[in-house]
């Protein structure tokens, strides 16, 4: 058995939960926000819900990487801690490139 193989199923399930929660939340924000826009001609709530849905959508894969880092630390699999941290670092660099 490989290092980490016994826990691979465990990490997969956590990742599945994070992704399901993120998708459901952002889609709900989008659906409610759009419905309000169409029905009410655009209210203050829609103006909050639509960007919130977008930010949750963008945060979901990042959150998936964060829980992977935590899980690899728990498994003391330092190579994969470094790899997942590198992915997070690149995402942080995207934020830097976007807003600086």
């Amino acid at each position: 058995m490989n290092p980490g193989e016994r826990d691979a199923g465990h990490l997969e399930l956590i990742i599945g939960r994070v992704l399901r929660f993120g998708t459901a939340t952002s889609s709900t924000c989008f659906a409610v926000g759009l419905s309000l826009m169409i029905l009410g001609g655009g209210g203050a709530l829609a103006r909050v819900l639509l960007p919130a849905g977008l930010i949750i959508l963008l945060a979901t894969p990042a959150a998936r990487v964060v829980v992977s880092v935590v899980e690899y630390v728990r498994e003391r699999d330092w190579l994969f801690v470094a790899l997942t941290l590198a992915v997070l670092l690149a995402l942080a660099a995207s934020v830097g490139a976007a807003f600086l």
């Binding site: 599945g16 849905g53 995402l91 995207s94």
Partner: protein
């Protein structure tokens, strides 16, 4: 960029549904269809179309990976390793997109559309799996239960540098053009790196979400991505993917593929014309 009206929201929603449905049925992301529709059909700048499409890529990736979690088809370790390359490529692509002209992006899109059309017509699917549960998958390989052949399939990953390079290119084009990039790396992982088709597709589906996120953040920060346009596209693609999963089995995939290849060639032609003309 066109102003958002109720009818435009419905058009984007419907386009997302069609792109998502066809994407699922044909095993490629919807982005390669959604981007040309938004830019050639609705008049969005290519950068905005790519940004909107990236949000649908993220939503699809998250939904598909969530559904797959638990059956060991996704190779998490291989995925997390290759992600370093795709995200680096995506970061570079996102920055590049801010600097190159619209006409250059159109030419690149046209070229990639032709490559995708050709890839789709000649399906690479060599047998490269070991049907022995005791075989050693190595540090990056994997094993999963394949219902079709009812055996546990074990595989090793070969030619890792090639897999990393393909992932980098896929990530780069993902950010630049608003596509998922699976269409570039899945055939390479399958044909040259020893990863069975279904495992390669599932692993790629996981990776494209985080890859597209890097690019989408850059577009968002630079003002090319508006939630108002992303929302109907994302909801449409989700509906389309759901329909595609439930209807795809009845449809004739062979003719769909030939039709899609024809559409992509036409898209490429239009992109080339636009890049030189207006």
């Amino acid at each position: 960029m066109p102003p958002l009206t109720v009818s435009l929201a419905f058009i984007i929603f419907a386009a997302g549904a069609v792109a998502g449905g066809l994407g699922i049925a044909l095993g490629l992301g919807g982005g390669i269809l959604l981007v040309p529709f938004l830019t050639l059909g609705l008049g969005f700048p290519l950068k905005s179309a790519a940004a909107i499409s990236l949000t649908t890529v993220i939503a699809t990736s998250s939904a598909v990976a969530a559904a797959r979690a638990g059956n060991q088809l996704m190779n998490l370790r291989l995925g997390m390793l290759l992600e370093v390359a795709t995200v680096a490529g995506g970061l570079l692509g996102g920055i590049t997109a801010q600097m190159v002209a619209e006409s250059t992006l159109q030419r690149i899109f046209g070229f990639v559309a032709i490559v995708v059309a050709v890839m789709m017509l000649r399906r690479v699917n060599r047998r490269n799996v070991i049907c022995d549960p005791n075989a050693e998958p190595g540090r990056l390989g994997g094993r999963f239960y394949d219902a079709e052949s009812s055996c546990v399939i074990t595989y090793r990953v070969r030619r890792l540098p090639l897999a990393l390079f393909a992932s980098f290119v896929a990530g780069n084009l993902s950010s630049l053009l608003g596509i998922g990039g699976g269409v570039i790396k899945v055939p390479i992982l399958n044909a040259w790196c020893g990863v069975p088709m279904r495992a390669a597709a599932a692993t790629s589906a996981l990776m494209i979400g985080v890859t597209a996120t890097g690019g989408a953040i850059i577009y968002y920060g630079r003002g090319d991505l508006q939630a108002l346009f992303a929302a109907p596209a994302v909801l449409g693609v989700q509906l389309g993917s759901w329909l595609g999963l439930n209807v795809a089995e009845q449809a004739s995939v062979k003719w769909l593929k030939i039709l899609m290849a024809a559409v992509l060639i036409a898209v490429a032609g239009l992109m080339f014309t636009r890049s030189t003309g207006s």
